[in-house]
Amino acid sequence: MPAADATSALKEKFPQVTDRPSADHPAVNIPAADNVAVLRSLRDDFGFDHLADLTAIDWAEGASPRFTVVYHLFSTTNHNYLRVAAHCPSDAEPAVPSIVSLWPGANWHERECYDMFGIKFADHPDLRRILMWDSYPYHPLRKEFPLAGIETPLSDPEISAEIKVNAIAAPMAGGPFVASPGEMNLTDAEPRAKDESWNERRAQPGQDELRQAKE
């Protein structure tokens, strides 16, 4: 069945499903609490058997709902896509049920989402960080996290015990050279290192404390 028919049939079956504006593929919004039931129905009854992608969007601090989890489903028989989006009910403590029980391949995607956005996936079998190291304190893809990064001691307990010092990650002098988004005059927006208060010659504020911690 074409994906457009699938969305109307899905809305009949689950009245809480609503249309989502989309320029390319059919898309629906679903309540986060119902995601397992709706996605199971999509997989078993509508033929969307391939979980193409699972990710999240941060709509920035102050927006509500702040976090949206987005699933892209693909049907290997009908060859069409469906985008399913679920807003996280809580902005401060975002959480949605895990769908690892439906697609084991969602395991790593959800771990990545947790790592990058801090979204908790309830009933996930193994919700650890995946790209950053285990003791990393931030969630880097949140909008308030600066592009140049925040210098963090690599306080892996095992490594610290072995080398007897608090390892510090390599510094990034000023961060990448990029253009600024948003409405502003061209001088402010042009590509440049974002944090110019420190560079190779001038240490970053707070660097001394880190160095002392290292010694």
């Binding site: 504006p21 989309s22 320029a23 390319d24 593929h25 058997d49 391939h50 979980l51 193409a52 992608d53 990710t55 969007i57 941060d58 987005v70 892209h72 693909f74 290997t76 060859h79 896509y81 985008r83 697609w103 084991p104 391949g105 395991n107 790593w108 990545e112 990058m116 960080r129 995946i130 790209l131 950053m132 190291w133 880097p140 893809l141 996290f145 592009l147 990064g149 990448p176 990029v178 253009a179 600024s180 988004p181 948003g182 061209l186 927006a189 042009e190 590509p191 974002k194």
Partner: protein, 410 residues
């Protein structure tokens, strides 16, 4: 009085000792710097003797925050970053990213541009599979294959260099077009490459296909069932090796793939050997596609002329005409102005399906850019298929999955 000495024999010693011959599991860390992990993958394995009882892949050693960087730069500035995803086939990544953003901008590129993109993507596929084949050969003890495949790959890189100016980091596709048109006589040289490549490919594959050692190492090793392959989100040759004939070039054609005739090879058993066979056949099919593209190579423009707000004007115009100079200046400083909305586009890359999910709030910078990396999904099945294997089988499985950490870690 004589001193009494006691010399208990080993059997008595063993009887006196506590029974401590409990089976013990050993944990072994393979990588991140290990020749068979093809980059910086680390496998935390638990072994019972030489049999794996648990395998936990540790990734992220090559994490550069590409998605964060993308949110902070204009659409055009991100093109070179796509080279560094699957750095074995940058031309295919460039194309996938460009098409995703073109879908957002509702931009149609002319037929010549599409044909050049298909041509370069198929050349990238051959080059990627050649490397995968050579590395797989080394993993299973067949060194010679590597020598053959790298010689052919070098010829391809010469052609890439002539076309794009770079061997590896090509950054060839632009949003709405290409970096430049193909040079004079270049397609003829690609055709000549294909003609001499086919017999060499047969020779190279014949080193492995009926090779007793290679077959012993790969047949029946790392079997992925059809259901598992879909459930874990596997794509590309790894999915097709398990008998699922999903190929987006056929099933969801983009960039004019529907005009070309080619077959989609699928495996039957889903083991490492099947994945090897699929890659071998895909190279033959890629040559078929390249020959068809060159045979009906369309003329005309190679960039979208109507996309004044998106695509940079030709260099000679920038240097001679005021209006084009201003347009170029605005594109560089503010970025191409995109409508608000979200698109998800997937392309069939050599390693599997590469997807870009672009969320725009308007303006020259994406609000969110998610990269769906095929190697990331393909590796997530390791904990499932490695249990019960020998350590040496893991090396063969890794070689057969043909992943690249640049896109897995992003």
């Amino acid at each position: 009085m004589a001193t009494e000495f006691s010399f208990p024999d080993s059997a008595a010693k063993a009887a006196a000792a506590k029974p401590e011959f409990e089976p013990e599991k050993m944990s072994l860390s393979m990588g991140p710097s290990h020749p068979s992990t093809h980059g910086v993958l680390r496998l935390q394995m638990e072994l019972d003797g030489e049999i794996l009882t648990k395998c936990d892949p540790v990734i992220g050693y090559l994490h550069r925050g590409d998605e964060k960087i993308a949110e902070n730069m204009t659409y055009n500035q991100f093109v070179p970053y796509t080279d560094r995803l699957d750095y074995i086939a940058p031309l295919a990544n460039n194309m996938a990213y460009a098409i995703a953003v073109e879908k957002l901008a509702k931009l149609e590129v002319p037929a010549r541009c599409q044909a050049i993109r298909v041509l370069t993507a198929e050349m990238a596929r051959i080059s990627s599979h050649l490397l995968g084949l050579g590395a797989f050969g080394i993993d299973t003890g067949a060194w010679t294959v590597f020598m053959y495949s790298f010689e052919e790959r070098e010829k391809l890189y010469k052609l890439f260099e002539e076309l794009t100016g770079a061997r590896f980091t090509t950054s060839y596709s632009r949003i709405g077009g290409l970096q430049r048109d193909v040079p004079e006589g270049w397609t003829g040289r690609v055709n000549a490459f294909c003609d001499q490549f086919l017999p060499i490919l047969e020779e190279t594959l014949s080193l492995l296909t009926r090779n007793k050692i290679f077959m012993d190492r790969t047949v029946g090793v790392g079997v992925i069932s059809k259901a598992d392959a879909i459930a874990y989100g596997l794509t590309g040759p790894n999915l097709r090796g398990s008998g699922v004939g999903l190929d987006l070039r056929k099933d969801k054609p983009y960039s004019g793939y529907e005009q070309y005739e080619f077959d989609v090879p699928v495996g039957t058993k889903g083991d490492s050997y099947d994945r090897y066979l699929v890659r071998g056949e895909e190279m033959r099919q890629s040559v078929r596609i390249i020959k068809q593209v060159i045979a009906k190579f369309p003329g005309g423009d190679w960039y979208a002329k109507d996309a004044r707000r998106i695509f940079a004007p030709p260099k000679d115009k920038i240097l001679t005409s005021m209006e084009e100079l201003i347009q170029n200046f605005m594109l560089v400083t503010e970025g191409p102005q995109m409508p608000a909305g979200e698109v998800y586009f997937e392309a069939e890359n050599p390693k599997g399906i590469l997807g870009f999910y672009v969320v725009s709030k308007g303006g020259g910078v994406p609000w969110r850019l998610k990269i769906r990396a095929p190697s990331f999904c393909n590796l997530s099945i390791l904990p499932k298929i490695c249990v019960g294997c020998l350590v040496s089988d893991v090396v063969a499985i890794l070689g057969s999955l043909d992943f690249v950490m640049g896109e897995c870690d992003r």
